[in-house]
């Protein structure tokens, strides 16, 4: 297949929609569903009827501002409005009003302004289709230029060309580690092996993180396209998406996407009429956080107990069933199609010197605009929290923001002006992680925060290595004792010592990073610990 054939197809799909003058988009991603968007979709669909073919109601993916859900966007083609009109907190009873509104006279009581910083300050690459296309529609994805990057790679580029573009883009792994994606791909490409595998890590388990879920629920084809391009570049023909079972909607949409892509010839044997074959299979995680660690994830796919093994050998050399394996996170794969379409240099022009592109963050906790945002690397934390996030609700004061989940650390007020990228967060004793940001206000005690994350690590430790298994438990015990006001200075000293040992000697990332929340709260809020010690 040539790019022109695909472009023709896309034009054909767009033409099918030409009669639709008004498109009503209802968010049907998990967070809006939980605030009742499905009844809204039903009410709007019923009220619209067939609309004479000129009005169409469709379910779309995440629009970002989850705290205002259910969100509904109305796009009128006849209207001079460049953007669609966005409505918030919509109920089924609002359906007639929304459909009855005419161009230029939206329903003001429901209106959610789209010129507010939450929307205006974002730059969307990964989420470009999110909230616009129907995630279950293959045609919808192709109509907005989907699969063009794959066809381009297969028909006009050699695997080495693809590797060069990805390397030039400067993309770094979005799962948290920030390992250069191009380097990882070329390592797997160069490792000899008849059978190679691609794995998409969708086992997003950090508390307060929902970036990967939103991408899979909103634009699943984009992830498949990125994976197919990766497989072509490294010489693999088989891939697994390891997605947690707690994301049933994401799994369902991914299954639909795989089925439809296969039927359309973009997966399976002879992809897009070339000699390239590529199969994708979904594997469900059974609820273990540690299975987000790559070696544990592969053990789980192999049907073994989900626990990590020592590295090296790295998966690039010996991964799934001992074969060279490329493993990337959902968001990393979601960045690939635009990189191939626009070139690596385009991507490298966004972001900071060492961290390129944009990053999707999940804003959670004590923040006005809970939801999903995508901003260029290098955006300051203050912009993210105070301007895009709308600051702290109920007039409370900001205290800290936790990035990187249980593996990361907290950042206090005095460092809010830092430009967020992989390296700057590291210097503050935290990490990018997959992109969860939990905002903490003045009412929370930082010892409690540390205890919460330690409890999480303790219950999620696989139990294989001693420092993590026994160490997290002891650290949790000490934190609990201190939080209850019964700790002594000796307990605090022991806690710090255990932090050092567990960090230095644990087998995998879970244990190595488990002490981070304690170390960073101690670094910035030591006084809160000391206040709680028995005897002052």
């Amino acid at each position: 297949m040539h790019l022109e054939d695909l472009a023709e197809k896309a034009a054909e799909y767009r033409a099918e929609e030409a009669a639709v003058r008004r498109e009503v988009r209802v968010c049907v991603a998990a967070s809006c569903q939980s605030s009742g968007s499905l009844p809204v979709l039903e009410a709007l669909t019923n009220a619209c009827g067939d609309g004479g073919g000129s009005c169409r109601v469709k379910g779309v993916g995440c629009m970002g501002l989850c705290s205002a859900g259910p969100l509904v966007a109305v796009a009128d083609k006849d209207c001079g409005l460049a953007d669609s009109v966005l409505y918030r907190d919509v109920t089924p009873a609002d359906a007639p009003d929304i459909l009855g509104s005419v161009c230029g006279a939206p329903v003001e009581r429901l209106r959610c302004p789209t010129d507010q910083p939450f929307f205006a300050r974002q730059q969307k690459i990964v989420l470009e289709n999110s909230g616009i296309i129907d995630p279950d529609s293959f045609k919808g994805y192709v109509a907005v230029g989907g699969y063009a990057a794959l066809v381009q790679a297969l028909s006009e580029m050699t695997p080495a060309d693809v590797l060069r573009e990805v390397t030039a883009s400067g993309l770094r792994g979005r799962g948290g580690g920030g390992y250069p994606t191009g380097l990882k791909w070329s390592t797997v490409a160069k490792t000899p092996g008849v059978q190679k595998y691609v794995i998409c890590n969708a086992d997003e388990g950090d508390p307060g993180a929902f970036m990967d879920r939103a991408v899979l629920e909103s634009d699943p084809h984009r992830v498949l396209e990125g994976m197919a391009i990766a497989a072509y570049a490294i010489g693999a023909n088989k891939a697994y998406v390891y997605v947690r079972a707690e994301y049933p909607l994401a799994v369902e949409r991914l299954q639909t996407a795989i089925r439809k892509a296969k039927r359309a010839g973009f997966l399976g044997s002879k992809v897009a009429d070339t000699q390239f074959s590529f199969e994708v299979e979904i594997r469900l995680g059974a609820g273990a956080f540690v299975c987000g660690e790559e070696t544990a994830l592969m053990a789980s796919i192999e049907g073994l107990r989900g626990q990590p093994r020592p590295r090296p050998p790295y998966p690039a050399e010996s991964g799934l069933w001992g074969c060279p394996t490329l493993i990337n996170n959902v968001e990393s794969f979601a960045n690939i199609a635009p990189i191939i379409r626009n070139g690596g240099d385009w991507f490298a022009g966004i972001g900071t010197e060492k961290s390129k592109g944009t990053k999707v963050f999940a804003l959670a906790g004590k923040i006005q605009n809970t939801g999903l945002i995508e901003v260029p690397m290098g955006t300051s934390l203050r912009d993210i929290i105070e301007i895009i996030g709308g600051g702290i609700p109920d007039g409370k004061a900001f205290k800290a923001v936790q990035t990187g989940g249980p593996s990361g650390g907290c950042i206090p007020e005095q460092h809010l002006d830092i430009a967020v990228d992989y390296d700057s967060l590291k210097t503050l004793g935290t990490m990018m992680g997959s992109g969860g940001m939990i905002v903490i206000d003045e009412t929370s005690c930082m010892v409690d925060v540390a205890r919460y994350f330690m409890e999480f690590c303790m219950t999620e430790s696989c139990g294989k290595c001693i420092p993590c298994r026994a160490g997290t438990q002891q650290m949790h015990g000490l934190l609990d004792k201190i939080a209850r006001g019964q700790g002594t200075h000796a307990d605090l000293a022991l806690l710090e010592e255990l932090c050092e040992v567990v960090q230095a000697t644990s087998l995998c990332g879970l244990g190595q990073t488990a002490p981070n929340p304690v170390l960073s709260t101690l670094r910035y809020f030591r006084d809160e610990y000391e206040e709680k010690l028995a005897g002052g």
Binding site: C462, I466, Q474
Partner: protein, 243 residues
């Protein structure tokens, strides 16, 4: 210890361990080279003849030019590697890890059948653990005495999985496995059935011999009587490897 050179293409490298210049085959791990050269490296999960586990973390060593520590059991040697096996920092970490083990379950040596023949006890003595600063958890664990010849005392178990590996890799029965996670982990026979009811156990006793502590023992032993013999393991492992 690595297998005798059957593949001609393995290179020999030189490296330095604790200021001693040594040579090694490049497919050997650091712990193998140390054992060959009588450089003591503490370890509880590693055993010559069983697959690498990397769980006890006692064998961590420092590599020059690397900020993180490496487990000697799972890291292969390389040309020009410079390794420190016994720095003050490593000694401190090892003591803490051993203390964590003592505090985790009920390792009361004075009433243990393995007293005097226990690898955990030896290591504690060698590493200078003379007291435990970490609070004991004091959780009572069950004891499985259902097998007619052997006994499993979870109170003494350190979850090194030597039993799991020897049963699977040498005996081929795979009676043992691990269930649950974190500190709830427990060694189980078959699908968490009492050992005595196991359909797969051949009663060969290999698991008892390789167990480093008093967790797996012979029935009818009293304090300090349980002496273990692991000499069979490298021989069987090599025989299996050659066939």
């Amino acid at each position: 210890m690595a297998q005798p050179a059957t593949t001609p293409n393995v290179r020999v490298v030189t490296l330095r361990i604790d200021d001693r210049d040594l040579s090694a085959r490049e497919d050997e791990t650091i712990i193998e080279v140390c054992r060959e050269n009588r450089i003591p490296i503490p370890s509880l999960c590693n055993l010559d003849g069983l697959s690498v586990w990397g769980g006890c973390r006692l064998c961590v060593v420092e590599l020059e030019g690397q900020s993180r520590l490496y487990a000697a059991c799972s890291t292969r040697v390389a040309e020009g590697m410079r390794i420190q096996t016994n720095t003050e920092k490593l000694q401190r970490y090892r003591r803490t890890i051993i203390e964590l083990l003592f505090a985790e379950r009920n390792h009361v040596c004075s009433v243990c059948v393995s007293n005097g023949h226990c690898e955990l006890q030896w290591l504690a003595q060698k590493c200078g653990v003379d007291h435990v600063r970490i609070p004991y958890r004091q959780v009572a664990y069950p004891v499985d005495s259902s097998h007619e010849m052997f006994r499993l005392d979870h109170n003494r178990c350190i979850l090194c999985t030597r039993c799991v590996r020897v049963c699977d890799e040498i005996e081929g029965a795979h009676t043992w496995d691990v269930m649950s996670r974190g500190s709830d982990c427990r060694i189980i026979s078959d699908l968490a059935r009492p050992w005595g009811e196991s359909d797969t156990c051949t009663s060969c006793g290999k698991c008892v011999q390789v167990c480093p502590t008093g967790a797996l023992v012979k029935q009818g032993t009293s304090v300090g009587e349980m002496v273990k013999d692991q000499h069979f393991l490298p021989i069987l492992a090599r025989r299996r490897h050659l066939s």
